[in-house]
Assembly symmetry: C2
Amino acid sequence: MGQEHQRLIRKLETIARLTDADRQAFNGLPLRIRAFEADTDLVRDGDKPSECCLLVEGLACRYKLLGHGGRQIMSFHVPGEIPDLQSLHLRVMDHSLGTLTRGVAAYIPHEAVGRITERSASVTAVLWRESLIDAAIFREWLAGIGRRTAHQRVAHLICEFFLRMRPLGLTRDGTMDLPITQAEFGDALGLSTVHVNRVLQDLRAEELITYKGGQLRIDDLARIQRLADFDPTYLHLLPDALEPDAFRPEGLASR
Amino acid sequence: MGQEHQRLIRKLETIARLTDADRQAFNGLPLRIRAFEADTDLVRDGDKPSECCLLVEGLACRYKLLGHGGRQIMSFHVPGEIPDLQSLHLRVMDHSLGTLTRGVAAYIPHEAVGRITERSASVTAVLWRESLIDAAIFREWLAGIGRRTAHQRVAHLICEFFLRMRPLGLTRDGTMDLPITQAEFGDALGLSTVHVNRVLQDLRAEELITYKGGQLRIDDLARIQRLADFDPTYLHLLPDALEPDAFRPEGLASR
DNA sequence: CGTGTTATTGACCAACATCAAACTTAGTGG
DNA sequence: CCACTAAGTTTGATGTTGGTCAATAACACG
């Protein structure tokens, strides 16, 4: 019933229409709140968690460490998401969940999630859909890393961040908080830090973005989308959530 | 109740334990059978399918066409899988499903799948798990394309094929049918055809594999796994299905 | 046999990696 | 409020993996 549940519900409302009963079910989930620092592992590769982790404040990512010392970030997560929802049905973690900034997490016992899904097919459908969108984003990243240039990849990721954060009220106009290092960008995009740096400079020089102090402004959305070959279909957002302004619910506002 | 249902059930048995009731539910699914040629789209980017597609015979893949003429293959599929299961909860396709060889598909109405999932939480759990493993494979590919060398990527994909096909009885000893062109390998791994060719030659020269006429034999599984940095955890196979020989059910046998 | 697809080879090239150093910024403690 | 430090960013020089182009060789199939 607190802010934490609202975060979750607001996020789910961007991808599915919830009934009152659905909202009640989510509201009833027991949460164990915990604050975290930046660069903390919330769940680790090989773990067999008995709870999921709702991100309430801050940024997180899922990543794998590879044999020869490399790291691949496979997803970024914003407040309201449950990055390790898959652990509900996959007992052992095949990757880690780590934080990028300080923030707040809320742990939900698997058992509690299992209870509301068994009780309601529509709650199940919403969460299943959420996990399928997660997979859709992996597919898009796969296509990007496999076949797009470095410039397109960076631009694409920026577009994605923006479209995901906007319906959650985490942007003001074209600006969002994105306190992510260039090394992290690189680990997500399969690029070196140095190259990310050069690409970002090019995007700035092209007057597509302004980026400093962890604040990113998109100066020309249409053009950066075109450069990135960005089509938001894969995010499977509801029409409301895709529109710039149609979606401005009260609370947790963008201010 | 036909061979087609058995394919599905056998595949699901590699990732989850089914109850008799589960098997019955799957057996009761209505199927519309259809043969297909190689290089046919079964479902296309942008479609809004009202049925899922069970692969009964042959090989298929999911892919995206990118703006500048590139293609990224995001997954390969073997008989018994439902490559577009996600369409159950994501109305519009964000990629295409195409065949690589001739074969047979069986279409299942979403409505029928919805019926058995609403009726049984355990059926739902199995299918949900299946879709989560799908996502886990995307993650692994992401890590590979992002951070592994071309040699590792090719080796990794070969290991994955082998471990996925073996529990389905699609291998004999170290050999499997893999009638895939080098261009397709490249589109899956983010490499050019030419480079795939050179890497395959290296693997042959290293006596890791034998590959001709669409037949691939793994000559040294341990060594190729090491080279690929391959850890099968991400496939989330049941212990039975991971063991070389513990899992040899009758029927549909490897002959 | 002929014809189209697939595999192979060679020459050349570009995007991006690596290495190393300098510079900036944000915190931190005095 | 300033010096100090560590983290992050930027720059330059150089190297390498893997791409591109183009031609040839092997097959597969009707």
